[in-house]
Each structure stands twice: as structure tokens, then as C-alpha cells.
Amino acid sequence: MTHPPKGGSAPPGRGTPTVPSVPAQPGPPLPPGGSPVHRGGSGAGPSAPPVPGAAPRRTAWAEGTDRLRAAATTEPGRLRIIGAVLALLVVAFGAVTAWQMTERSAAADNVLHSSQPLSASAADIYRSLADANTAASSGFLAGGQESQETRDRYERDIRTAAAKLITAANSSEAGSSAATTISQLNELLPQYKGLIERARANNRQGYPLGGAYLRYANDKMQNEMLPKAQQLYKNENQRLNADYADAKPYPWAAIALGLVALAALAWAQRRNYRRTNRVLNQGMAAATAASLVVLLWLTVGHTFARSGLDESYDHGVRSLNVLHDAQIASLKARGNENLTLVSRGAETKTLPDKTTMDLYDYNFDRDMKSLTRGLAVAAGLADDSAGEKPVQAATAGMEVWKQRHKEARKADNAGDYQLALDRVIGSPDKKPTGECFDVVDKNLGIALTHEQDEFQRAAGDGLGAMTGLPAGAAVLAVLAAAGAVLGIGRRLSEYR
């Protein structure tokens, strides 16, 4: 009644009726019999007894503080209070540690098993859509000689995009902006496919209308679908970043509480030593050791986890983002290069200086610039040879691509359409730009796989460093609390 349950249950020995023990000393303080030095007390003694009939009814709080104040006048009372406070601190430390680390560990788990896979999945949607558009234009340029390979690639891309859209839909909250974007993409995808089939059918008939359909489909893809897919990808990346932000901060509250608990334990033991000259109180020593273990485990474990997560972000996520963007840029550039030959001047773009360029050639230049930038950043981020090699190979491929593209444009501008066509989609002996695009695409794929592995490994390490920490902290804290209470209880039993 008078003490918190822990204090009440603290003395293991029976026959310590706590309640009567306090009011049992109303008169002049008993001579300190077996008790060692009796200090303090500050003479508040006489006023302590609650006069039964004085104030008819007081609040529980006032009554409690009075009792506490009364208890603080005697050593056993003080010990009880100390015991209770120690146990409370240690348990709180354990609880906060368990809580904070559960949160961080869950966030890290999300990074590894939920938000990053979703981000990768959104990147796949984005990439497959861009890839499908590129494959469609390549197939269109080849006309009746469209290769099975291009056709398959297009079909596979559409299937991938459709399948991943379902995954993304399942993991998005109903009514969220991501869900809206996904449903819009789901509506646009069959429309796009219909346009491509119309383009194909007309092209097979030899009608230039096919080219107009392809431009229309390309327009839908580049101006409506890809921006939405990019938005989705950005949303997922935001979620990923939020999970990182939840997993990484130091658990300051737990660390601070741990320090306070340890300080309290140290003070209690010092006090014990001063009063009894006994060096070791086993219970409290055990509690100190357990708390120290929790604190060390917490600090070291989280530091390791943090560095793992940092690494997974710096060498995984950042590289992945840059490489994804580069791959999309290369796909768009390739699509625009094809479209330049399909459109044959049907659409133009007027530059600020009033000169006019073919719209698709203009877009090609723009995409190539962003590919160049992306590859430069990716080269800077790659931290090992396995990551550097494919980026270097892709950069080399891109340089050749630019060179060959110039030649293809020159041929087309000079009116030699067939040569231009050969330089873009021709067989390898014609030195087509398609070859260079394949080099870039393949190597970016290798780099992406490598960085994905890097990410998995580093983030897995990070998550691993937190394994068992919440549960371990909780168990150890309970043990430490028990130790503290036992230690105090031992001292308390000396007063009987």
C-alpha cells in the first residue's frame, strides 16, 4: 500500500509487514540498536504520525507523500525507496531500449525487405515501360523484318510492367497518391499497347499512318506514362528514405536512461559501502553488470547497424538510383534515336535562338546529356572494381554511340535514309548504334545487379547487428532489476 509494488515485494524474507513498520515509531526515535551509524533524519520525526481523526479525508497523493516522507526518516524506509527507484530505473532503461531498438530494427527490416524491394520494383516498372517503348520503335523501324528478339523483348517488358504494377498496388495504401498513380498507369498500359498494335498493323500495310501511330504512342509513353512511373519510383524512394531515417538515429533516450541507471546503481553501492563497509553487494553488482552489458550492447550494436545501413545507402541505394536514372536515360535516348528515323521530320522543336531541330533528335541530345552525367556520377560512387568495370564499359559504349549517332544523322541529313537506318538498327558489320546501346544497357544491368547485391549485404549486416537486442535488453534489464531489489532486500533484512 505504502510503497510501489516492487518495493513491497522486495524483501524476500517473510514477516516484514511493511505497513505497520512505519507508523510503529511514533515517539522518540528508538536507540539505534543493531543498526550501524544512524545519520541524517533531520528530526522530522515527531510530526510524522498521521493523526487519525484530524483531517477527515485527504487525497491519496497527499497521503502517499506523507507516508513517503515518513518512510524517508528511517533507514529501512530509505532503503525501500532506493530499492524501488533503482528497480524502476533499470526496468525503464530496459523497456526504453527494447522499444527504441524494436522500432529501429523494424525500420531496418523494412529497408531490407519492404521499401527497397518496392523501390526496386517501381524502378522496374519505369525501366520496363521505357524499354518496351524502345523495343517497339526498334521493331517498327525494321518493318516487316522485325526480329523475334525485339518482339519478345517488347512483350516481356509489357508483362513485367503489368506484373510489377500489381505488386506495387498491393503494397500501396488505398487512396494514397501512389495508389492513384498505379491505377492511372494500369489504365494507360492497355491504351499504349493498342496504339503500338495499330502502328504495327499500319506499318505492315506500308501506310505512313503507322508512323503517326507510333509517334502518338511514344508521346503517350514519354509524356504521360513515364512521368507517372517516375513519380511512383520517387514515392517509393521517399518511403525508403523515411525508413532509413527511422532506423539510423542513435537511441539517445535509452542511452541516457542507461547512464542514469548506472549512476544510480553506483551511488547506491557507494552509499552501501559507506554505511556498512561492505565492498560488495552481490545483487547490486549483478544489476550493474547487467545494465552495463545492455548499454554496451546497445551502443556497439547500434553503431554497427548504423554503419551497415550507411554503407547500404551510400554504396547501394545511391548507386542504384543513379544507375536506374542512367539506364532510363539510355533507353529514352535509344527510343528517340529510333523515332527520329520514324518521324522523318514530322515534328520539330524551335529552340530559343529560333533555329529548328527535329524534335526527336533534340530529345536524343537531351537524354544523352543526362546519360553522360549519370555515368559520371555512377563512376564516382562505384567503390570497388566489380562496380567500376561495368560503369567504365558503359561509358566507353556511350562514347562510341555518340560517334556513330553523328554518322547516322549525317547520312540521314544527306538524304541517304538506308545508310542512316543501317547505322541505327543494321547488322553488326554496318557499325550500328544499336550495338552501342546494347553495350550500355547490358553493362548498366550488370552494375545494377552488383549494387543490388552490395545493398543486400550491407543492409543485411546492419539489420543483423540489431538482432536480439530488444529481447536481450528486456531480459537483462529484468535480471538487473531483480538483482538491485535482491541487493537492497538483503540489506533490509538486517533490520529485522
Binding site: R198, G206, P208, L209, A212, G345, D358, G415, Y417
Partner: protein, 341 residues
């Protein structure tokens, strides 16, 4: 909204009533609204002024198709320059996307498919006359909007690309005598109730290409409530062929373009047809740089022969099937050489 509609209706050739209404509106707007609205009022006043300007120019330019130079087979500085090229070819701006006019058949068994069509046949005839080889041509695909800049900058020697001879264009380039007569025409699904450029277009969405004569005409006619007050002129598309895409997708109900190009669209889709007669008369000419007089005369010389031999075969091959009998285009237009120097 209302103000804009009013302004649109008054900018054309509105009657006295419309002018009075405009004065009242302008006054009210000027009194009620700050500077921005007054700016609007001034453009409204500028409208009739501009219209008067074109009218004035149209007065000294009638029948632009009859403003070319007399034919001559002689060489001159321009032709000499072409003949002395390292790459001894004629550089011609053409269309690659107009079915039966200038286009590339992807299924042509010849490697990659050369360009073919009515315009292309004419180009070959010109090259044969000037350079003695009908294949001494470098074809450049140029977009509609680039026809005049390409000539002016010297990128191409000439443009043979369904290009209408107009008074405005005569200020910028030189034209040959006309080689084809056509006019704006309506293209719509066979089953639609549309009968031509008339009230049957009420409530219909009309498609046209950017910077085309069709789009100019539609924009001007909207102000006078033609072809029908409730007709909707869709935002122009980059290429006339894009209109057929819109039509097939149900995003447009009718297309207005040159009858010749409308026929080229109809040739790609049997469910659409030309509706009604041409409601304007236009002539296609070969466009060249201003000042290249020897080249203009030479092309007119080629055309004079071509009308007698070549034109008919080409027309029958490419255009007769879709333009049908009794088309205003079925004979080569007569050449009148109205310009002396």
C-alpha cells in the same frame, strides 16, 4: 469567358452591330477593369486593322499561282552552282510521310525502300532535265513548318512538298508555275452525317495541322461562326496525318486539309472518305529561293513538258484511285507566267 467569346466574334469582319457592341464592351471594360483588361481591348481594335492589311496586300496580289516567270531551258548562276557541286546532285526538300505524294514504303522490296509518290515523280523529272540523271537527287525530309526556312537558308535547292502557292509565301520564296490544283476539303467517316464544309459540322470536333492553310482558314472562320457555330476546332496537331490518328481513335470527328492530302489519308483507311467539294481553290508549286531566276525558269520549262508527258501517268498511278472521277485535280492546271522579272 463571355468577354473572350465576344472579342473573338468581333475580331473578324463583324457588322456595325458587332462594332457598336464592341465599343460598349470596351468602354465598360475600361471603366471596370484595370490595365490588363484595357490591353485586351486594344488587341480587339487591332484585329480589324490587321484584316485590312491583308486585304490591301491581297488587292495587288490576286491569283498567286499566275505570278511565275516564263520558262527557259538556259543555265544560269544557280544551275551552274548545282552542276559544279562536288556531290553533283539536286538537293530537294520533300515529305516522307504523305502517302502517294512523298513517302517511303517500308515493305518496298528495294533495299530499305526509296521514296515514291506524285511529288517524287516530278522531282525525278526535274533532276533528269537539269543534271541528265533522274536519280541525281538528294532527298531531304523537311517538316511542313521548315519548308520556307530550308529554302531561305540554302539547305535545299527547292521544295517539292504539296506546297500551296500563296501571296504571303510569294514574299518569302519564288514559286514555279502551278503543277497541281486542289482545295480544302473535309474528310470524315463514311457513316457520319457530315456532308461537307457546312452546317453538318455542327457540334463536330475538327482536326487540322499546325501552320497549315486549313488551320488558318478554320481559325478565321470560327470568328464568323463558320462552318457551324457549334463546331469545335481542335488544337492543331504537328502533322496532317496525325489527324487521321485522332479520327480513328474517336478524338476528332472530321479533318480539314488539302483535298490532295485528304485523299492520301483516305487511301490508308477505307472507312473514311472525302465529303463535299473543295471549298477553296489552291495550287501547288515548286518553291525555290527568291532571286534564283534561272532555276525558276528552268523548272517551268520542265513543267511545260511534264504537263504533256509524265503528269498524267503519275496522276493515274498515285492519285486517281482516291480522288475519283470529276475531281477538280484531274487535269494539270494551266500555266500563266504573270511575272516578267
Amino acid at each position: 469567358m463571355n468577354a473572350r467569346r465576344l472579342r473573338a466574334s468581333l475580331r473578324g469582319w463583324g457588322g456595325v452591330g458587332a462594332m457598336a457592341l464592341a465599343c460598349v464592351t470596351a468602354l465598360v471594360l475600361a471603366l471596370m477593369l484595370p490595365d490588363s483588361a484595357r490591353g485586351d481591348g486594344s488587341t480587339g481594335v487591332g484585329g480589324p486593322g490587321l484584316a485590312r492589311g491583308t486585304q490591301a496586300r491581297a488587292e495587288d496580289c490576286t491569283d498567286p499561282q499566275n505570278q511565275s516567270l516564263a520558262p527557259s531551258g538556259a543555265d544560269g548562276t544557280t544551275i551552274d552552282a548545282i552542276k559544279n557541286r562536288k556531290d553533283r546532285r539536286l538537293i530537294v526538300g520533300v515529305d516522307q510521310n504523305s502517302y502517294h505524294w512523298g513517302y517511303r514504303d517500308p515493305n518496298n522490296p528495294k533495299a530499305g525502300g526509296d521514296l515514291e509518290g506524285f511529288d517524287i515523280d516530278l522531282v525525278h523529272a526535274i533532276a533528269k532535265d537539269i543534271l541528265g540523271d533522274e536519280n541525281a537527287v538528294q532527298f531531304r525530309a523537311i517538316p511542313t513548318s521548315q519548308r520556307i526556312p530550308a529554302i531561305q537558308s540554302g539547305q535545299v535547292d527547292m521544295v517539292v512538298r504539296t506546297m500551296t502557292i500563296t501571296c504571303d509565301r510569294l514574299q518569302q520564296v519564288a514559286f514555279s508555275a502551278p503543277y497541281f490544283k486542289t482545295g480544302q476539303q473535309v474528310l470524315a467517316p463514311v457513316s457520319s452525317g457530315i456532308t461537307g464544309y457546312d452546317k453538318s459540322l455542327a457540334g463536330k470536333r475538327i482536326c487540322s495541322a499546325a501552320k497549315s492553310t486549313a488551320n488558318d482558314r478554320l481559325t478565321a472562320d470560327r470568328k464568323t461562326g463558320k462552318p457551324a457555330p457549334s463546331s469545335v476546332v481542335l488544337p492543331p496537331v504537328p502533322n496532317q496525318l496525325d489527324c487521321l490518328v485522332r479520327l480513328q481513335l474517336g478524338e476528332a470527328d472530321a479533318v480539314v486539309t488539302d483535298g490532295a492530302l485528304a485523299a492520301s489519308q483516305a487511301a490508308q483507311d477505307p472507312t473514311v472518305e472525302l465529303k463535299g467539294d473543295t471549298f477553296t481553290t489552291e495550287y501547288y508549286g515548286v518553291a525555290m529561293k527568291r532571286g534564283a531566276e534561272d532555276l525558276v525558269r528552268r523548272v517551268n520549262h520542265v513543267l511545260a513538258d511534264y504537263r504533256k508527258d509524265g503528269w498524267r501517268q503519275s496522276y493515274d498511278k498515285w492519285l486517281a484511285p482516291t480522288l475519283g472521277p470529276d475531281s477538280p485535280s484531274e487535269d494539270p492546271p494551266p500555266a500563266v507566267y504573270g511575272r516578267t522579272a
